[in-house]
């Protein structure tokens, strides 16, 4: 890969990531002790988070349904994309009408991805409610959107690049801050 080199600073280690996911799972369990529930991940790392949450909630009755969304077709910036995004399959294998859905993503930033995901879910049917679970809320919202369950809250600058890494997708659990290397450094 070309482009600027990034200096990476660790923000959260594997234990903190695991604790964050556990906290989110606990929050979901408290709010929904029983009854049907679905966890839907936003590609790519939201799907990994949804899978982890589903594992932790597998002893609920009934165990949560799982789904995945690729929001590419609901983005508001197609005009600015110079390359064709690779669209992965969206998979919602349960009836959305009347469902209680916890939407999952790794990072909550501007809120635009969540806006797109909510629009997309509603095109599958009319859920009873949609909640939002994120591992990291890094602030800097551009839309009036808030998470229902948050693993960690991080104070970041708009220009920072926050990367969440999951075992399933990246081989390790971590959250790191990436900043472009300054020229000559």
């Amino acid at each position: 890969m070309s482009g600027p080199a990034f200096r990476s600073t660790p923000l959260l280690d594997a234990d903190a990531v695991e604790a964050g996911i556990a906290g989110v799972a606990e929050g979901i369990r408290r709010r929904h002790p029983d009854g049907p529930l679905a966890v839907v991940g936003i590609h790519t790392r939201g799907v990994a988070l949804a899978d982890r949450l589903a594992q932790r909630l597998a002893d609920r009755s009934p165990p949560p349904d799982r789904g995945a969304l690729d929001i590419s077709l609901y983005r508001d910036d197609l005009d600015n994309l110079g390359t064709i995004p690779t669209i992965r399959s969206s998979d919602i294998p349960f009836p959305v009408d009347g469902a209680t859905i916890v939407l999952c993503d790794d990072v909550l930033f501007t809120g635009r991805t969540i806006r797109a995901a909510v629009d997309q879910l509603i095109d599958y049917g009319r859920p009873a409610c949609i909640e939002l679970a994120v591992l990291v809320d890094r602030g800097n919202r551009e839309l009036p959107i808030a998470a229902t369950y948050t693993g960690h809250t991080l104070d970041t600058a708009r220009t920072d690049h926050i990367a969440v890494r999951f075992r399933e997708t990246d081989g390790e659990d971590a959250v790191v801050l990436l900043r472009p290397e300054e020229a000559g450094s």
Binding site: T83, I87, R88, S89
Partner: protein, 324 residues
């Protein structure tokens, strides 16, 4: 990043298959898959092209291709306008470029063109910022038909490399034969042609192998037989003695159908079918006939094409000095 190759830049127009790199063909086909998945949802529409306008500029009659493009554009939430050519000033002698200038002023984002003269879509593309999609120009090209054919075949044969397709029929008059065979060749297939001697072009691309009888062609063991439509409206008596003779020599007769079925060969046809000419009725209900899937896949493939192209926006034109 996944293991996928680096993303490809978006192109402005889709005019033919020839100018596409094999990986662009693959990307257009891969992108069609999530669009097809939409068709099982209650809301079959996505907002990807909301606020964009698509103009259908058909200088030649077409029902199927035009409807397919219209549905594709509407499922992407674009606004669709039909430019009724026969009732417009074209009949008063307005040139194609005059028409395009008018359309340019209407600020359309995509133009879908069909014309009886080869090269008209290219001409239009050079003179407009809109993305131009060739929906068939004379005998030259019909790229979206080729893509939907390849997409349909990939659903049943995921790896086309080394597979064989036999194209049967009126190759000289067929933009489908040109585009589809090129597209399948780019995906690594071997191409065979069998058609009326007078109709098989001398300019048959060198990657294609010619046959002089249906029996020889079937002995080549194709995986797919692609039957071209005999274009009755373009036919003149001189090319073919009679429809009955065409059927006997080049058509899928009951005897040939049994051979095809026994060998498990897939059958394709771009439609509409002339029953009793290119094929007998039983082929339509054959479990390895892909003819109906081709129609459904046409919409998904055209959605992929419209979604993947990138018109020149005013801002970018000013930046880059592009556009007219």
């Amino acid at each position: 990043m996944s293991a996928a190759a680096a993303p490809l830049p978006r192109r402005k127009d889709l005019l033919d298959i020839e100018s596409l790199a094999p990986e662009e063909v693959v990307q257009l086909l891969d992108t069609a898959r999530p669009f097809k998945e939409l068709f099982t949802r209650s809301v079959k529409k996505v907002p990807a092209l909301r606020g964009k306008s698509v103009l259908m500029l058909f200088y030649e009659p077409s029902t199927r291709t035009k409807t397919s493009f219209e549905i594709a554009a509407k499922r992407l939430s674009a606004d669709v306008t039909n430019f009724a050519v026969s009732t417009s000033s074209v009949v008063k002698g307005e040139s194609v470029l005059d028409t395009v200038e008018t359309l340019q002023a209407m600020k359309v984002d995509y133009i879908v063109v069909r014309h009886s003269s080869p090269g008209v879509p290219n001409l239009i593309a050079r003179h407009t910022r809109a993305s131009v999609v060739n929906a068939g120009d004379g005998h030259h090209a019909h790229p979206t038909q080729a893509l939907l054919d390849a997409y349909t075949l990939r659903e049943v044969l995921p790896d086309l490399a080394g597979r064989r397709v036999l194209i049967v029929g009126d190759i000289l008059h067929s933009r489908v034969a040109r585009s589809t065979s090129r597209c399948m060749h780019k995906l690594g297939m071997e191409i065979g042609y069998f058609g009326p001697g007078t109709l098989v072009p001398d300019t048959r691309p060198d990657f294609a192998r010619g046959f002089t009888s249906f029996a020889d062609a079937l002995a080549w063991k194709p995986d797919v037989v692609y039957l071209l439509r005999l274009q009755l409206e373009r036919m003149h008596a001189s090319f073919i003695p009679s429809l009955r003779e065409y059927h006997t020599v080049f058509g899928v007769t009951p005897a040939r159908f049994r051979q095809i079925r026994d060998a498990g060969i897939w059958v394709m046809h771009p439609g509409p079918v002339n029953r009793g000419v290119e094929l007998v009725d039983e082929v339509m209900t054959y479990e390895r006939s892909l003819i109906n899937q081709q129609v459904e896949n046409g919409i998904a493939t055209r959605m992929s094409v419209l979604y993947s192209l990138q018109p020149v926006t005013e801002a970018r034109a000013d930046d880059e000095g592009a556009g007219p």
